[in-house]
């Protein structure tokens, strides 16, 4: 075979270096299968493109570069599939939960308090950076909707219960740090 346009490693590096040409090329590679995955599983085309973007972010924010055992496209698709399945799981739970709460939680952007939220965002990130790396990894996976089993496996914890204990400690630590920050009292009214 002759030279390909990009090797797997070039595609991976293209994501880390945020090379627009490579990113668009990857979108072309994965668009149809990801779109079909989403549409066949309760989603829409818009969800598919958002999912692809989340796939890029998932790779970009990984602290360690993955060792590819299959093609980059297969790897990327697997990431999107995981994210989508988790998203569906959460959507299902969330819809039944939110319908039973009188005042549903509303993100700050939606109530036109962007400036206030931006300050709170900086505050959250400031404290998030202070907690240990393992705590960051756990909460990052929680935030991306991964199940307890997935987090346990990915971070190589001995059991789900142990992971949950760690998660509790990490989360409490972060919440306490934020709540104890004097800035928080000034900013929390947007919540």
């Amino acid at each position: 075979m002759g030279k390909l346009r990009y090797t797997n490693n070039e595609l991976l590096e293209g994501v880390y270096s945020r090379d627009s040409r490579v990113i668009k090329y990857i979108m072309g590679l994965v668009w149809v299968p990801v779109r079909d995955l989403v549409i066949q599983n309760s989603g829409k085309e818009d969800d598919a493109m958002n999912l692809i973007q989340e796939g890029f972010i998932a790779i970009y924010t990984k602290t360690e570069k993955p060792q590819l055992t299959a093609s980059f496209a297969t790897y990327f698709y697997a990431i999107c599939r995981n994210i989508w399945l988790n998203e569906l799981r959460i959507r299902k739970k969330e819809s039944s939960m939110l319908s039973s709460i009188e005042s549903a939680p509303v993100m700050a952007e939606e109530v036109d308090e962007e400036q206030l939220y931006e300050k709170r965002r900086q505050l959250y990130l400031k404290h998030f950076k202070k907690i240990t790396k393992v705590c960051q990894d756990i909460l990052k996976m929680v935030s991306n909707g991964f199940s307890n089993e997935d987090i346990t496996a990915e971070l190589a914890f001995s059991s789900v219960q142990y992971m949950k204990n760690r998660r509790t400690v990490c989360n409490k630590k972060l919440m306490d740090m934020i709540k104890e920050d004097p800035q928080y009292k000034e900013l929390k009214y947007g919540l």
Partner: protein
Amino acid sequence: MDYNDRILDFLSGDISEVDQKKLAEDLNNNDELQEDFKLQKEILHTIKMGDDDTLDFRSQLKDISGEFLNEKNSRLRIRPAYWLAAASVITLLSVSTFLGLFRSDKYVGDQMFLEYYEPYGINIQVRGDHAEEDITKAISLYQAGNTEKALKEFERLKIENSEMSGFFLALCEIELGNIEEAQKELEKIGKNAIFYSDHINWYLSLCYLKQEEISKAKALFEEIALSNNEYADKAARILKKL
């Protein structure tokens, strides 16, 4: 279990129905808990969205996605009045959407496909009469991504128009990842093809490539490269890489 744990379980989708119901009740009756819930959700959202660098990347991705979709849509714009033109566009759509990509680790072949699946304006000269409406319907199904239904329609229409319906039938099989079936169909209709022969040969050669039948692919690409049709240059370029 403390509330924050229960909230986290809920936000992770790992909460039992009993606990979820209890949490919902408590949230309705406890303002402090509501604030914690909102705070927890907002913190997780912030973590998910990432730091400033990640947000910047998100913004970049949004721009690239917009460009990508615009380019894709402009490729798929249907020419008015001519259903045959629509057919050709759909042909191109299908070519750019090889679902078999993730069915194996043969990334080399897959990447070559995608590199050479670029839409062109194809002017197909086909006579259509009473079957035109049905064909248009089948094409619409195909265009909407309803490939399995489209496939059934083309199977039915094959009796009246074996070449054209057979060609689209093969494209549906490709969409469904059934490359072997697509290949068989293209081989069958290709023998007596008149109107679609260039396109049939092109897709058939790509099926061979996909199936790693390199000698067959080469032979057909050589034929295409010598044909001076719209696929000739691409076939020549592929040959250099094989």
